[in-house]
């Protein structure tokens, strides 16, 4: 058997070599002419162009981040309000949960043309669709989080003379927190996806529109740089959320 540290090094070596292999394949595919440079930019070119893209697409980045934040926050607030209202009674939860679960799984994207019809082609349809995408996974998680609350603990807290508000703050909410924070992750990704889809389709504001334009005009290196940049931004947003969730989790213990 290997020692733990040797095993950890092996794991790291495998991971690193896999990443290097992918990047090397990406490079070789261009160098040896497997793929036309019109359709694929080399890793180095992509990296170099990121700086230029950040400068050129400043406004689009700002537009996308703003739209995402507004959509995410709006969707989550609505989900919390409606979710907690439904959770007040177990019966209403049974009535609404299946419908709301369907809201997550059905292809809402086909509603996009309707949103454009109703809300125009400016920022509003982007935000509404992003918010709707965030709403459903979050509201389902709010309803499921209710299951995490142990009735015995609530009873105990009541017996100890805690008020309704205190019970909510000290018992109910902490018990729901893990499921709520995993709901935030789903909502965050759904909102990003929603915002980007409508931006791509409308082709007016934001990174979606910017990437679309780059693809249409065959500015290949810029486009790959923009895609890598956007992907990096989404990873950063996810990490930020993860740290926030962990911070609250630690506070809970």
């Amino acid at each position: 058997m290997m020692s733990r540290s040797a095993e950890r090094q092996l794991v790291r070596a495998i991971r690193l070599s896999a990443i290097v292999l992918v990047i090397a394949l990406w490079d070789v595919a261009l160098r040896w002419g497997w793929i036309d440079p019109l359709f694929l930019a080399s890793p180095l070119d992509t990296l170099i162009h990121i700086r230029a893209v950040v400068v050129e697409a400043k406004l689009d980045i700002a537009a996308t981040v703003t739209a995402f934040l507004v959509a995410f926050v709006t969707g989550v607030i609505f989900a919390l309000g409606i979710g907690f209202a439904i959770s007040l009674s177990n019966y209403s939860r049974l009535v609404f949960l299946p419908v709301l679960v369907l809201g997550v799984t059905i292809p809402k994207v086909t509603l996009m043309p309707l949103f454009i019809l109703w809300f125009g082609i400016a920022r509003l349809p982007v935000i509404v669709f992003g918010a709707l995408s965030a709403f459903f996974p979050m509201v389902v998680n709010v309803l499921i989080a209710g299951n995490e609350v142990k009735p015995a603990q609530v009873l105990l807290a009541r017996a100890m003379g805690l008020s309704r508000v205190q019970i909510y703050r000290k018992v109910v909410f902490p018990a729901m927190l893990p499921v709520l924070s995993s709901g935030l992750f789903y909502a965050c990704n759904a909102a990003m996806m929603g915002v980007f889809i409508v931006e791509l389709a409308l082709d007016r504001h934001g990174m979606g529109a910017y990437v679309h334009d780059l693809a249409m005009t065959f500015r290949t290196a810029d486009m790959y740089a923009a895609v890598v940049l956007t992907a990096g931004m989404t990873v950063l947003i996810n990490m930020a959320l993860w740290y926030i969730a962990r911070y609250f989790g630690r506070w809970r213990n």
Partner: protein, 253 residues
């Protein structure tokens, strides 16, 4: 809950019917343009017309078949590749530790960002939609397969080994059945994601399928047909999801 005599299913349908009734009354009585919103009865009428009348929308059945074919191919590949990767990741701790962080980062990135890249690399035809469908669906299948296999009680495997089972036999007779519930849940979620991915792809790069029909109705302001087509895709999504859950329940029990 002793006070509520009405079963939740009935209450759910009553609410849905009430919403449809309000929608019908609201659109009939108010002066909102029929370009923006049409009553449910008209949507239903148009669904019937599209299904029966050949010229209601261009080549309805041919386009529906395109979409269904793309979904079927994308799902088959996503399920197969996803399950294999999941088995590989769960099968060896070193491979799991090495690749899981990479997979998690990829999972966190909204896949829609890569759609312009896919289209640039392999064109606008159906392979782009299939690959995008796979990309959207595969991660939940991978992670559920891994999680399911890791949950399997190590004592089962030890017992099977002591009974002289070989590796393959242990995998198919012990580990896979024990992990089936979680794996099947992943396959169900993946199916929903495949549908979402394929329809998104069709709506963003329009040339055939439901995406084409919806785009046709929307750019020509055939609002009633647009609502009907959206209703058809949403209902198909609901039906497909409930079909898969039924298969899942059949298998698990």
């Amino acid at each position: 809950m002793t006070g509520c005599r009405v079963p939740p299913v009935l209450a759910r349908w009553a609410i849905i019917l009430a919403v449809l009734g309000l929608w019908e009354a609201g659109t009939r009585l108010s002066s909102v343009s029929s370009l923006l919103i049409v009553p449910p009865s008209l949507i239903l009428w148009n669904v019937a017309r599209i299904a029966v009348e050949a010229g209601a929308v261009p080549d309805f059945y041919a386009n529906a078949l395109v979409t269904i074919g793309e979904i079927a191919v994308a799902y088959a590949l996503a399920a197969l590749i996803g399950a294999l990767i999941g088995i590989a990741v769960a099968g060896s701790r070193i491979i799991g530790d090495a690749f899981e962080p990479i997979l998690l980062v990829l999972y966190a990135i909204p896949k829609i960002i890569f759609y312009p890249v896919i289209v640039l690399m392999i064109g606008t035809g159906y392979p782009a939609k299939v690959i995008f469908g796979i990309l959207v669906a595969i991660f939940v299948i991978i992670f559920n397969t891994t999680a399911g296999l890791r949950q399997v009680d190590a004592n089962y495997v030890r017992l099977a080994r002591s009974l002289g089972y070989g590796r393959t036999k242990i995998f198919f007779k012990v580990e896979l059945p024990a992990a089936a519930q979680t794996i099947l849940a992943g396959l169900r979620l993946g199916f929903g994601y495949t549908i979402i991915g394929v329809l998104t792809g069709e709506l963003l790069v329009v040339n055939a399928g439901f995406g084409y029909l919806i785009d046709w109705a929307s750019v020509n302001y055939h609002t009633a047909e647009l609502y009907a087509l959206i209703a058809i895709t949403l209902v198909l999504g609901v039906l497909a999801n409930s079909l898969v859950s039924r298969v899942e329940r059949l298998w698990v029990k």
